[in-house]
């Protein structure tokens, strides 16, 4: 019952959460309806849209202030005094977000299937893989955001991640276009690929290597697919461990009287 209450709280803690889900689902439908041309028979463009909007932006929207709100308001003071381990508190909240996301993506898939049936355009081939990859990305970003929420107040955890991701990719783009010696950017791109939320690996997993300008061709091999998933899960675990340690070490006090 404890886990159920903690998981339920991740949905009920803010009034706008169900609105976010509805808006996102409408966006998917809108994108499919408005932006997929008649002749477009691939799911790739829609898959990427789903991947970024559902896997990244949705995670930021749902995890905004997940601990920061409690800490800023002082609710955490009562929570921490309950006979509840910090790991359990953290993991239940992350699990709550993951289950929300799973339900969200299943609904998204159903909506797209219905739209495909009604409008007779677009292809839903490999849509399932895109949904799965989006969910994996969601969990990783949510873990990072939740861990950051332990030290950053209110909803600034999500804002911080959004600003940092946009800035880093912008700078990386500038560096790659201006640097001729690839070796200099190798360390940076390696960091972005392996330590950062796995945008590249998961999009390759989902999109296969049929990406127009990719350096090989072929739906990702089984071993590479599994490796991408394993790495994504590993990153999630690392971010979670960091968050749990921060929660254990953090002190919570509003008054100093």
């Amino acid at each position: 019952m404890r886990k159920y209450e903690l998981i339920r709280e991740t949905f009920c803690r803010r009034g706008y959460i169900w609105i976010v889900h509805v808006v996102w689902l409408v966006l998917y439908g809108g994108f499919w309806w408005l932006f997929l041309p008649e002749s477009e028979k691939e799911v790739g463009d829609f898959g990427r849209f789903l991947f970024i909007w559902g896997g990244f932006f949705l995670a930021l929207a749902l995890s905004a202030g997940i601990f920061g709100d409690d800490i800023s308001s002082g609710r955490i003071c009562v929570l921490i005094t309950k006979p509840l381990s910090h790991g359990e508190l953290y993991l239940c909240r992350l699990l709550g977000l993951s289950l929300q996301a799973a339900a969200h993506f299943i609904l998204a898939g159903c909506i797209i299937v219905i739209l495909r049936f009604v409008m007779r355009k677009g292809s839903i081939e490999h849509l399932g893989i895109w949904l799965f990859a989006s969910w994996l990305l969601f969990i990783t970003v949510a873990a990072l955001s939740t861990s950051l929420s332990v030290v950053v107040g209110r909803i600034y955890n999500s804002l911080l991640i959004l600003v940092v991701v946009v800035t880093v990719y912008f700078i990386l783009g500038l560096l790659l276009s201006s640097m001729h010696q690839k070796a200099d950017t190798g360390i940076l791109t390696a960091f972005i690929r392996y330590a950062w939320p796995p945008f590249e690996l998961l999009s390759k997993f989902a999109g296969g290597e049929y990406g127009k300008y990719s350096l090989t061709v072929g739906r990702f091999s089984v071993s590479k697919s599994i490796a991408c998933v394993v790495h994504s899960v590993f990153l999630t675990v690392v971010y979670s461990i960091i968050g749990i340690i921060l929660l254990r070490k953090r002190q919570f006090s509003r008054q100093r009287d």
Partner: protein, 412 residues
């Protein structure tokens, strides 16, 4: 005891996690960005048959019309409308933007004309003064016997900064792709639904995977829908060509593939690559660059000897043919104060070294895919069009005796 057991469990879980992550890291980091010998493809009979069928189909049809969109990751796009008519006529309208006027190549099997609507673009081969005189109402006329000349090469030779065609339309007229003899193998990459059309994907590896092409071949008409080419030089270059609006059963009217210059138009003699090179008597630009064997090569070290400087690249058929000849020449003339010096500033080092090893090239070679080395070639030796092989004969005093591009069979 309980705590010890808990610790043991956590340590075991952590160890398993790290091992799995290590494995995942190893698998995903085997990136296709770096050339590896495993990229060389062995022949699969079924895939080879698909490839051969594609070429045969291209050569058999009487008329063929299609749109080709060529693009690269940097966003450059060029579109072509290609119309091919047997026995030997063709017309290619080229534009890099639908809103701009086109330039057109038209040929009848004997001659090829190139002309522009409106003001022509400034080409690599142009100089400011010459361009002002030939901006508009000019055309190029060249001998172009059917099946003997590459149409795609003519577009490239103009040096327009667009993306050229990957699959040469000249194949329609029986032209043999110069890269054919360098195919290592063809293998299948499985079926694929390309924009609603069932296709087979094949991978063709050339020159020990220095170049790879992927063809999405329609199961219905055996013609390609998409072609991707990856050239593994110092950096990887990717180009994609997408075919659409393919019509093989139409009849192309004759007037589409014939052309005569309108009144008042002038023929423009385009400077060839040789025209831009260093002239006899000019000082050969000095360089001091890394060599293939890890040392350094300085041109001035060879003062007092005649130097045959050959700039080459693994991926050019002409270079692959000329280098063994040069090696023979080098061995025969080693004692005669004549030295052959290779210069490679574009290739991936691993591929180039392998090539040097396989062909037993013992003459000294500069191997430096850096900006500095490229500047020497482009600006120092005036090879703006990057035509290779580029030969420069330098006398004992360091002056240029002769310079020319390309390879001619049996050239001495």
């Amino acid at each position: 005891m309980q705590i010890k057991n808990n610790i043991k469990i956590w340590v075991t879980v952590a160890a398993i996690g790290l091992i799995l992550e290590g494995w995942a890291f190893y698998v995903v980091s085997a990136s296709p960005e770096h050339w590896r010998p495993s990229m060389i493809v062995n022949d699969e009979p079924e895939a080879r048959a698909l490839y051969d069928t594609m070429i045969e189909t291209l050569q058999k049809v009487e008329n063929l019309s299609y749109k080709s969109k060529c693009s690269a990751p940097d966003g450059r796009v060029c579109t072509y409308l290609i119309q091919l008519k047997k026995p030997s006529a063709f017309r290619i309208d080229v534009t890099n933007d639908p809103s701009l006027k086109t330039n057109t190549l038209v040929g009848n099997g004997d001659w090829l004309w190139i002309y522009w609507q409106g003001v022509r673009p400034y080409l690599i081969v142009d100089d400011a003064e010459g361009y002002q005189k030939t901006r508009s109402e000019v055309y190029i006329k060249k001998a172009s016997p059917a099946g003997k000349n590459s149409i795609a090469r003519e577009i490239d030779r103009l040096g327009i900064i667009w993306n050229g065609l990957i699959l040469d339309p000249s194949i329609f007229h029986g032209y043999e792709d110069p890269f054919e003899p360098y195919i290592n193998g063809v293998r299948s990459r499985g079926p694929y639904n390309y924009r609603g059309e069932a296709c087979d994907i094949i991978e063709v590896s050339y020159m020990n995977a220095q170049r790879t092409r992927y063809f999405w071949i329609s199961k219905e008409d055996h013609l390609p829908r998409q072609i991707k080419q990856i050239d593994r030089l110092a950096e990887n270059h990717v180009r994609v060509e997408e075919w659409s609006d393919i019509k093989s059963k139409i009849i192309i009217p004759q007037h589409k593939v014939t052309w005569s210059p309108p009144e008042g138009w002038r023929q423009w003699h385009v400077p060839g690559p040789d025209d831009l090179l260093l002239k006899c008597g000019q000082k050969a630009p000095e360089f001091d660059l890394p060599s293939a064997d890890g040392g350094r090569i300085k041109l001035s070290d060879y003062r007092g000897k005649t130097v045959w400087l050959c700039m080459w690249e693994c991926g050019r058929p002409g270079c692959r043919k000329v280098l063994p000849d040069l090696q023979k020449f080098y061995e025969e003339n080693k004692d005669k104060d004549l030295i052959v010096l290779g210069f490679n500033c574009t290739d991936n080092k691993k591929i180039a070294r392998r090539f040097v090893r396989e062909n037993a090239l013992t003459f000294p070679n500069v191997l430096d895919p850096s900006e500095d080395a490229e500047k020497v070639m482009l600006r120092g030796y005036n090879n703006k069009t990057k035509t290779l092989p580029l030969h420069t004969l330098i006398d004992a005093q360091g002056n240029v005796m002769d310079a020319w591009c390309g390879y001619v069979e049996g050239h001495e």
